[in-house]
Symmetry: C2
């Protein structure tokens, strides 16, 4: 079983959008870790897709060893940059927060990527009238309990995961999820106030989502 070196090279490959890769890019920025940020165009995807494990992106090459699954990759990089739990219990509570954000993403995605237009409209109706209010109220109260963070009352990779993903979520639903949610907004502010992340946001390519 080949293993990467102690100081490996990283290459992240994804579409030229934030979406699923952005939490990983934000984690790299936070840790000041160098990596190659490879971005392909949408029209290149059909040729690239068959070369990807499970036909999915993003993928990360670590010393040339390719792995997929964006959340698993983010958890791995979080450990490298000191944003994972100090013990198993802390790691559990961070994972719970990440999975909850990810459940929200999946519920939005199920509506967004529905191929039948009539069914899609109906799914968005349920999403906007039931699912989003429920999730946003819960996440707002989690952020309040944790003093502007999503777990443990302190900065963890759950916060970077949420903020990294937020533009994509907002793009899919057509409004800013943190509107009138001051504690969720505080999570965003806490993350984007970090100098290394602020610098990344200032220099990253402008993309639609």
């Amino acid at each position: 079983m080949s293993q990467p070196s102690a100081n490996p090279t990283y290459k992240l490959t994804y579409f030229n959008v934030k979406a699923l890769a952005e939490p990983i890019r934000v984690l790299f920025a936070y840790g000041g870790i160098d990596y190659e940020d490879v971005r392909f165009q949408r029209e290149e995807w059909p040729a690239i897709k068959p070369t990807m494990p499970m036909g999915q992106a993003p993928v990360l090459d670590v010393d040339g060893i390719r792995v997929h699954q964006s959340v698993s990759i983010a958890r791995y990089i979080a450990k490298k940059v000191g944003l994972s739990g100090a013990n198993d219990w802390e790691s559990l509570l961070i994972d719970v927060a990440v999975d909850t954000v990810n459940d929200l993403r999946q519920k939005i995605s199920i509506a967004q990527y529905e191929p039948d237009e009539a069914v899609k409209a109906k799914k968005f109706e349920v999403l906007k009238s039931e699912t989003l209010p429920f999730y946003l109220e819960k996440l707002e109260s989690i952020a309040k309990e944790n003093n502007g963070y999503l777990a443990l009352g302190k900065l963890t990779w759950a916060d970077l995961y949420f903020v990294g993903l937020l533009d994509y979520l907002n793009f899919m639903i057509g409004f800013d999820l943190t509107t009138d949610r001051p504690n969720l907004k505080k999570v965003v502010d806490n993350v984007t106030a970090i100098e290394s992340i602020k610098a990344w946001i200032a220099k990253r390519p402008e993309t639609e989502c």
Copy 2:
């Protein structure tokens, strides 16, 4: 931030089915860890749902501290029973395997829980003609490369996760996913041959899924 004790009490609460709780139960069985296996009936769910974090089950009480998110819980228990990675890289590869199995579950669930019958039928058609063959071929080849396991060429919680979930997946799609997939079948055999797991399977309540 309250933390559980070094030797905590565990209470797992779920429907009286295998489904999302069974990987956790299988992990407890493997580690010989005592826990209270609380099972409620479907008709009790409307009353229980509002008491659950995020309105979801299963939940695990650890020394009375309640957590949700079945995959996060399984990862936590896996660490307690020695089935997580020996280092960050191994943990990453296990997480990738778990997330891949979970992607498959979600793709099946999107079809299974589609409320519109005509749309559901169409989703099952795509699932059976495209998604399942693709995933099963990939998983079969992963199991082959890993000598009858899903990661690292050895037993990890990814295998227990897959085998714990399999009856539920099979129930939803109406056939055994390991049919004509000898290496996936080997994953099942490797897990179910473990004495503690064999004993759990022999004594667990008989349920439809």
